[in-house]
Structure formats: structure tokens, C-alpha cells
Subunit: 414 residues, 2 copies
């Protein structure tokens, strides 16, 4: 029978092997005392299994509160644990409860982070994965051979539909590929959802009629389920191509239901991610996290950006991009969304390290506050990526491309 | 205009006032540079506001990775931040993205935990809250004046529907009020969901016909949305009274949709909670967390238990019980589910500290592995609570009540 394997980075005051056995007991047939009915046959069929243990360093202080080591050390390790698919079938929420449920409560661990998940091949028979993915997003926007260039409407919240549509017009005329609502903005007092769709799609459709290029706008439909379904239809009827979901806020079963509709690209925003990831020994790492959302059918997912304004390291961002670009079910792909404090200057390092242009590269202030206005901002981003792919340095590109040169003057730290 | 207020426990290498301003900028109209359109009028209407700052201790080491203090200290504080309801309307996922979204990514904080949420009174016009709550659960089970006594089917996973139904029969005859699936168990290879409902409800209905007492069984319907709705109907048609959801795994919009059906009690399991809560300076505390699920309509929610087998302190468990018992919208209530390593011995301390019998008190091994069998286990739990409310000590109750006395001999640590 095929098995799902979780890889965990753990810390424990116990012998690592003993702690691992506590985990597999808790996460399959166990309770705190032996109970009638727990036969050996049942255990061998349904019990979780420790597949490997790789011992790492030991430390004197625990990473998070738990069982005390009583003067001895806390041991770190990578462990792999597997479960038979017979336990949960094809049920993503119950898979999540198995991989990342009560095990985080175990006092025997003073650190526990789910690093990656290995899924059986036959999951591809049950989960279509992203309907559009990288190729679908390229086709819809008509962008080949370079990253899609996108922006976020700023101020995040407060503009009227007409003001927002006015910005979108400017951006469309500047050649932008993608625009999105902020995650704080769904339907506010002065920008009702339907009014915003009407105003924006009028601009986008008119621009498409004139130029043949339809800007992809990710309308934030995050809400209760019925409202999301209504808004999804509204976007579709207005000629839109994309809806945005705040993945952690909406939750998996809601996101899956929306993705299953299959008519719009789904932009997956990971706001709240820091709660799940920021501690090195608690929560979940992105390679595991993105798999669950790809199985749900999300087409685009946020990965932060190189030299971002947040806390995350460049190494972590590069690992996240790489995770998105590894095939999952049926060879489907998910488009990594690079954002946070981006203005184009990071294109060089991003390309050098990730070696891909299969990105949605987002800049907010980097476009809207460009010295030559938003038009200059969009052009500068295209130039930055052109330069990066041509092998230019930031300085060389700044000399060669005037709008990007102006970006460097305003946003460059050097 | 009414406002939602979040209280955060934070740590920062910056002056606390400055860090708080970064937070409100990120979580409302801000970006990393000033942009056109961000007027003062817009800011005053939609901007988040720092309502209060209470400075606490300073420390030399950061709680989680972020901006370095460069030789100076990391400052801790309680801060309150508010947002106008105009920003998001009545949209729980967008409220969550506002209260617990990208702010966790801010490098200016080396610790951030959402401690509590204050909601405007008019939320009660929009959110019914728990349909059944404490009184509804008491009416359905016929239990007054004492905690509902419950158990979890163990082994968690592996029993056939007939084996499970056999256990339920034993437990029903012993006088149990409530039984639940384990969170790892929804539909497994040898216990299909519908077969399990059929087998168990046959036992429960027959027992109800004979005695007038219908045991509440929480069938774990956690899955994708359509499957959950089908299973919900299946339980209802079979005469069941309760469905269980793994809250974090299903997610808010799915949970809300199920709760909105309004025909079954919803048992809210918080597995995965440790990811969100275990670090003292990262994530969310239970008083905030339970409000969001109560707004969604969950009738019962897990709070762990006194002297539990997990890492959580008794103080934290008591605070969680108290949070559940505070009125929220329309005076609705949510039933705190006490579980984890409970066997009855903890009834005395639980009652002494929480001063309530409005609990669902769950024991797994404590019932199933009782020396007199499951029947003795159920009786022992009822005796423990009787003794606790009568003001007996554990030792006095053990002398007075023989089955509880046997529990103490097997499970008591003294």
C-alpha cells in the first residue's frame, strides 16, 4: 500500500528514537495507555512508521517550551515518518490533521517543524492540481520568455473603484501584465466588490479590445463560501481572468472548492504565513506548504522576494521558488509570485540564484512611486529583467536603460 | 464608525511606538514608500490606529529571528491596534488577513502574538454564532448539572465499523453522554464513513428507543466541501446529532458553511493548534482564536485539560475555559471540550479552578482501559465530578466511590 511521508526537523530531551516513537503512536493508533482492540495486525496496517533518523547537533537550551532535559541536552534530528494512504484515503484535511495535527502538542518535543512531504504517485489520479499554472498564465497574458510583471494597488485600501480603475488604465497603457487587490481589500465601504470589478474590467476590456493584450487582474474574493462563489461568477461574467484567495484565512476546503470551478486563474496569497514558519523549530516550511495548496489547485503562490522588506532570508526565498518549479501531480506547475519591497534592482540576484524567468514579479511602491510615474515603473521592471537575463550587472543595466537607471537613483541602496 | 481591536504581545529592537506605527502602516494603507493617492483624508478613514501601548521588560536576545538590535535591547510590550469595520465589512477571512496577516512577516518585530480581539456589538447582527452551544448540547443529551462525559474511539484508527459500534454499545449502556471519532479517522480503508455511521447509529438509536437517552456521536466529516455536506446529510438522515470538524485543516470558510446548515451540533477540534500557539511570542492565543470559530458557529471547541499529556500549562487551560464561557454574539455560548490524558483525577483541580460544570469532559484511555472495563470507566468519571462538586478531595472521593477508587489505583500518580 502506498504511503505518505513527512520529513520533520525536531528537537527533544529524550533519545531521538524514543521521541519518534511517541510521535508515531500519537499520530496513528496510540493513546496514553494500552487499550483493548489494539492488535498487532491492526498496528502493522494502520500505524505510522519511523522511516529514518538523522541525528544533528545537541543544544543546552530548548527551542520552545516542553519537557525539561533535567541537566542533559536537547537533541536535534531530521526524522521521516510515513503513513499508509489506507488511513485517510484522498482527503486533504485529514491528511493535514495527520501530518500537522496534535503532534505539535507533544511535550516530548521542544521543537518540531514539517519540512517536506512526499506523496504517492497515484495522488495525481485524484488531484488535478493547478488548472492553469505557469503556461496558462503566460497564455492568458501573452507573456513569453520573461517574468510576468505585476503590481499591487496601493494605497492598499481606501481608493474608490473609479480611482482604482484610473490606476489600472495607467498601468495597462504602460504595459503591465498583472495587477492585484491588496489582501486587506475585498469589499470596503467606499469600494464595493462588484463596483470595483465593473470599473476595472471596463478599463481592462477596452484596453484588450484596442491592443489585444488583456491585463490579468486578481480580484480578492476571500470571504465566506457562497460570497466567494458569487464573486467568482461576477468576475467571470465581466470578462476577468483571475481571482485571489488569502489561503490561510479562507482555509483549504474553501480554497479547493473555488479552484475546482476551473474557469479562473487562482492567485494564492499566503498572508499569515509568518505565524506558521517564522520560528526555525516550529511550524512548517514552504516546500511542504506549497504542495498542499498545489494539490488544491492554486495556480500562483507567493514566495516573498530577494532582499525583501520582511524578515525572510534570501536563501529561504530561493528554496521556495525552487519548490514551486519542481513538478508535482501530472506535471502541473505553479507560478511563484515574487513580491515585497521589489523595485527591479533585485532582478539580477533573483535570476542569478533561481535561474528562471517563470515568475510573477510584483512591485508595489517600486512601480507607483517611480520618478517617471507608473509608466516608467513598469518599463524599468521590464528593463531590469532584460538586463538580468542578458547577463548585465545592475550597474551596467542602469547605464544602458534610462527608466531602470532612474529606479536605481530613487530606490537603489548603493 | 465601529472598530475591531486586536491586542498583541510584541517584541522589537525599535522604540515600541515606532514599531507599532510600522504595523499599522503595513496593515492598512501603507507600502515602503509614499505613493500618490495616499491622502490624509483617506488615511484617517481607513488607517489602522495604535490605541494603547503598555511597555513591559526588555531582553538581550530576540525571541524569533528579525531585525538585530545592534547591541541594544529588545523591548516587549502589549499594544492595541484598531481597524474600522469599513475596511472589511462582515467578512471573516478578510478580518483574519487584517488581524493576523502580513504583520507576522515584519522584520521590525522579533516577537508578535495576537492575544485577544474586541469586536463591535453589531457583529451579533451578522453572525448567529453557535446554533446549539452549551444549552443545546445539554438538551440533546439530557445532561443537566454536571459535565457531559465523553470519550474518543481508541485505537484512533483501524477498527471496523462493527467493532466501533460494539464499543459504542458498551459505552452507551455504561451511561456515556458523548463519543467521538479521532481526528485521524474520517473514512479509512476498513471503516468507510457511511458504513460507520450506519453501524453506530443503529446502536445509538436502539439505545435511545429503549432508554430515551440518545448518545451524541461526533462523526468526523472533515474533508473537501462537497464531501462534508454529503456526510452531514448522511448523519442527519441516520438520526445523528453531531458532526466533527478539524478546524485548522478544513479552514474557516468551509467550517462556516457547514455550521450554517444549522441542523447538527458542530464539534470543533483544534488539532494543529500547537503550530499557532506553542511559542510564547509567536502566533495567536486561545481567547482570540476561539472568538473566530464561535463567530463561524462552532458549538464545542477543544481546550486541552488540566494536567494534560501535552505541553500546555494548567494556567493556559483555565484561561481557555474562561474564554469559552464569556458571552460573545447574542449571548451565545460554546461548550469547552476538556481532553488529553484525562481520567477523572483532574476533575477536582478543574472544578476548583474553573468553577464550572459547563464542560464536555473527555477521557480516552481513562475510560477504555479502566480496570472494571469501559462501564467502570464511565461510572468513575461521573463519580469524580460528583465528588469534585460536593467538595471532596480526590482521596475522599476515591474512598467513597469504588469505581473511581479503582481509577485512582490504576491512573493516579500519587
Amino acid at each position: 500500500m502506498e504511503r505518505v511521508t513527512g520529513r520533520y526537523y525536531i528537537e527533544t530531551p529524550l533519545a531521538v528514537e524514543k521521541a519518534a516513537q511517541v510521535l508515531v503512536g500519537e499520530q496513528s493508533s496510540g493513546t496514553f495507555v494500552a487499550v483493548p482492540g489494539e492488535t498487532e495486525e491492526l498496528k502493522s496496517r494502520f500505524a505510522a512508521r519511523v522511516e529514518s533518523i538523522e541525528l544533528l547537533e545537541s543544544v543546552t537550551e530548548p527551542a520552545i517550551p516542553g519537557l525539561k532535559a533535567n541537566g542533559s541536552l536537547y537533541h536535534r534530528a531530521n526524522i521521516e515518518v510515513s503513513w499508509s494512504v489506507e488511513n485517510f484515503g484522498y482527503n486533504l484535511p485529514t491528511l493535514i490533521s495527520t501530518l500537522q495535527g496534535n503532534l505539535y502538542e507533544l511535550t516530548q518535543f521542544t521543537g518540531l517543524k514539517l519540512m517536506d512531504i512526499q506523496l504517492p504517485d497515484n495522488f495525481s489520479n485524484y488531484y488535478r492540481g493547478p488548472k492553469f499554472g505557469i503556461e496558462g498564465c503566460r497564455t492568458l497574458t501573452g507573456v513569453q520568455g520573461r517574468p510576468l510583471i505585476g503590481t499591487i494597488i496601493k494605497p492598499s485600501i481606501g481608493l474608490t473603484p473609479q480611482q482604482t480603475a484610473g490606476l489600472v488604465k495607467t498601468l495597462a497603457e504602460a504595459g503591465i501584465d498583472f495587477v492585484k487587490d491588496d489582501e486587506l481589500m475585498s469589499s470596503s465601504a467606499n469600494s464595493g466588490f462588484e463596483d470595483r470589478v465593473d470599473a476595472i474590467m471596463q478599463v481592462i476590456n477596452a484596453h484588450a479590445d484596442k491592443t489585444g493584450k488583456k491585463v490579468m487582474y486578481a480580484f480578492n474574493i476571500s470571504d465566506e463560501l457562497d460570497s466567494m462563489l458569487r464573486r467568482y461568477e461576477y468576475i467571470l461574467n465581466a470578462g476577468g481572468t483571475c481571482a485571489m484567495l488569502s489561503l490561510n484565512s479562507v482555509g483549504l476546503s474553501g480554497v479547493k472548492k473555488i479552484c475546482d470551478q476551473g474557469a479562473l486563474v487562482i492567485h494564492g496569497h499566503r498572508n499569515g504565513w509568518g505565524m506558521l514558519n517564522r520560528h526555525p523549530l516550529l511550524g512548517i516550511e514552504f516546500p511542504a506548504y506549497q504542495k498542499l495548496w498545489r494539490l488544491s489547485g492554486v495556480d500562483q503562490i507567493h514566495v516573498n522576494g530577494i532582499q525583501n522588506k520582511f524578515w525572510e532570508s534570501d536563501d529561504s526565498v530561493v528554496r521556495s521558488i525552487e519548490a514551486c518549479l519542481k513538478p508535482l501531480t501530472n506535471g502541473t506547475t505553479v507560478l511563484p509570485v515574487v513580491s515585497s519591497g521589489q523595485w527591479g534592482g533585485q532582478a539580477f540576484e533573483t535570476y542569478r540564484r533561481a535561474q528562471t524567468v517563470d515568475l510573477l514579479y510584483m512591485a508595489g511602491g517600486g512601480i507607483m512611486a517611480h520618478p517617471d510615474g507608473p509608466t516608467g515603473g513598469v518599463i524599468a521592471l521590464q528593463q531590469a529583467w532584460k538586463g538580468a537575463v542578458e547577463g548585465l550587472t545592475l550597474e551596467q543595466a542602469a547605464l544602458q536603460y534610462p527608466e531602470f537607471g532612474n529606479s536605481v537613483k530613487k530606490f537603489g541602496k548603493a
